[in-house]
């Protein structure tokens, strides 16, 4: 289990997190990131970590 937080002020709406971890992240109508599951585990957690790594705006934090 890992806690996920996002900095919407940094988000640029590239949606890479939505593609990498669709169970954890989504976009609101304006295109900015929203968190669907802020405490993912297993595969979803791994996917969330990938999303953190590829987010071009470095807007995702995984708190271990």
């Amino acid at each position: 289990m890992a806690r996920i937080s996002v900095d919407t002020g940094r988000c640029i709406g590239s949606a890479q997190c939505v593609l990498a971890a669709p169970d954890v992240f989504d976009q609101d109508d304006d295109g900015f990131v929203t968190v669907l599951d802020d405490n993912p585990s297993g595969e979803a957690e791994t996917a969330a970590r990938t999303a953190r790594g590829i987010c071009p705006a470095q807007a995702i934090t995984v708190h271990d």
């Binding site: 709406g13 939505v18 976009q27 304006d30 295109g31 590829i54 071009p56």
Partner: protein, 392 residues
């Protein structure tokens, strides 16, 4: 590799008559400590960045700017790749945060995953029609002209609400803009024609709005009409030849490796492998900054080479092999940082629909000339193919 002995400078850009890509010199650059100092044809010097980690660092560092009005911004030729937002209001790729933010905010609702998915049937129809026309002509085609340029051109035109009858005009003008061998006069003229046309289109849509991006942005009111014309032109150019090059190169690569046709994972690896927009991200340091142990002074130009980063063996094992079974996630084919390609999910969709259409409907599709005779684009800012003769 040749170097200018007197100054120890590498001449840039690399020009070669054929494959492979990226330039073999990049691998040697990656092995050097620090960064590589290179001379542009203009005589200006720039720092080349070829390692994945450092390319990402350059593209996210607030001390490094995308604004070509700063002293020392790289200019491969007078105009290539980088008008400023002073020259063309709305040319937001040339703005740094916070000026950049308003444009990105206005545009991201148009490119969300949901919005792009909803475009699939429209893209399928465009692809199907392009294939119908190819098949109707016989058993051969020039795929770049007949398909790869046609599809993104129609997609971006329909997104913007540009009437289809005007698409030949756009193809011709954008080609002039992105070809390095165009003269400055030719480039200026093409750019003028495009802007004039788009301004007319905006005037028309202000009176009769449609279901298109231009009309919605106008309604949103975040951008002035003048900025909207710059934004429209930028989207049109950005969404056109880049996608076309990706489609064409992908056809060649997939035909060589047939087991990956119809495999979802292939798209990401194709993007990494070809890295068509190698030279698009030009930057300048606006403060002294250290990159990979190299001190870069304020006012010095930087060229982060995305093909270099995407073929960095530290990040991707056996980088010169096309291998969709690897996870190519983390490639920087669309750049990185706040300027990462806005239309990247549209490009993925277009590539996917294009390959499904081509290989699904024309199973006998093959390249009609020996691979070594293919004319690769080494004379442009974008890597691609000038022509791709095919038969079935």
């Amino acid at each position: 590799m040749t170097t200018d002995d007197a100054a120890g400078l590498v001449p840039f850009m690399m020009r070669r008559p054929g494959a492979p890509f990226p330039p073999p010199e990049y691998s040697e650059f990656r092995d050097r400590p620090g960064l590589v100092k290179a001379a542009l044809p203009s005589g200006e010097t720039v720092w080349l960045v070829t390692r994945h980690e450092e390319v990402r660092a350059v593209l996210t560092d607030p001390r490094i700017s995308s604004n070509p009005t700063h002293e020392g911004f790289p200019r491969p030729s007078r105009t290539v790749g980088a008008p400023s937002a002073d020259d063309v209001p709305g040319w937001f790729v040339s703005l740094d945060p916070p000026d950049h933010n308003r444009f990105r905010k206005a545009l991201i609702p148009e490119f969300t995953v949901r919005r792009i998915r909803s475009l699939r049937p429209a893209v399928e129809e465009i692809v199907d029609r392009a294939i119908d026309q190819m098949l109707a002509k016989g058993t051969t085609a020039e795929l770049v002209e007949d398909f790869s340029l046609t599809v993104p051109s129609l997609v971006i035109s329909s997104l913007l609400g540009v009437p289809k009858v005007d698409r030949d005009f756009f193809e011709e003008k954008t080609k002039v803009l992105v070809t390095l061998t165009s003269t400055d006069e030719e480039r200026d003229k093409a750019s003028e024609h495009l802007l004039r046309y788009i301004n007319r289109l905006i005037t028309i849509k202000s009176k009769r709005p449609g279901d298109d991006l231009i009309s919605r942005l106008m309604k949103g009111g975040l951008l002035t009409p003048q900025e909207l014309s710059g934004v429209s032109m930028l989207l049109l150019i950005a969404g056109h030849e880049t996608t076309a090059n990706n489609i064409s190169l992908g056809v060649v690569t997939l035909l060589q490796q047939k087991q990956w046709i119809d495999d979802d994972r292939a798209i990401e690896e194709l993007l990494r492998y070809h890295s068509v927009a190698d030279l698009v991200a030009l930057r300048v340091a606006i403060e002294d900054v250290e990159i990979g142990g190299q001190l870069v002074r304020a006012g010095e130009g930087i060229v982060p080479l995305v093909a270099g980063a995407n073929h960095d063996p530290e990040m991707f094992e056996r980088p010169h092999e096309f291998d969709p079974s690897r996870s190519a996630t983390g490639h920087v084919a669309f750049g990185y940082g706040v300027h990462q390609c806005l239309g990247q999910n549209l490009v993925r969709l277009e590539m996917d629909v294009a390959y499904r259409g081509l290989f699904g409907r024309i199973p006998a599709l093959e390249v009609a000339v020996p691979l070594e005779e293919l004319q690769f684009k080494y004379d442009g800012v974008l890597f691609g193919l000038h022509a791709l003769p095919v038969r079935w």
